[in-house]
Symmetry: C2
Subunit: 97 residues, 2 copies
């Protein structure tokens, strides 16, 4: 492989990453919409937003299905960020209304 071919291969990898990222983004927004549905139900029935047991279930779901190469600690930290962002959004919505 020449340096020129290497640069072409890198460009191809990056195009594939950009496409995967748009799929991830779509799924993150789909997840957010479901979290919003949950928020609306919880608000109507005055249920708590934060449910640590349910959050543990979310971690268990992804960690038990992780075939790698992403290591479990990395999956956990990415999910902590996702859950935290959606919880924050949920709280802000409930305080607004």
């Amino acid at each position: 492989m020449s340096r020129r071919q290497a640069l072409d291969a890198l460009a191809g990898c990056r195009r594939r990453i950009d496409a995967v990222d748009l799929e991830i983004l779509e799924l993150l927004n789909r997840r957010t919409r479901i979290v919003e549905e949950i928020g609306a139900i919880k608000q109507r029935f005055q249920m708590p937003v934060y449910e640590p047991r349910r959050e543990d279930e979310v971690y268990r779901n992804v960690l038990s299905h992780n075939g790698g190469p992403l290591p479990p600690e990395a999956v956990k930290r990415i999910y902590e960020r996702i859950i935290d962002e959606m919880r924050t959004l949920q709280k802000a919505k409930m305080e607004q209304s």
Copy 2:
């Protein structure tokens, strides 16, 4: 909607979230595999792992395609975590070999 129906609806939402999470997990691992391909090419041609301009491109890609409801700052923070995890993984691999 009775409280019983609300609990059923919540359970349904959670099942949908669990399914979306497995799709996100699959894409995160697919993304990691492409990052590993990039790492192998970079190592062979002694190119730097950290390329701030490419990272800006990744943020621009997701932010310019974000239709919400996830706000841009949340997308940015989730992507900071994803990029950081994959960069760490990449560096560890290159040091190993």
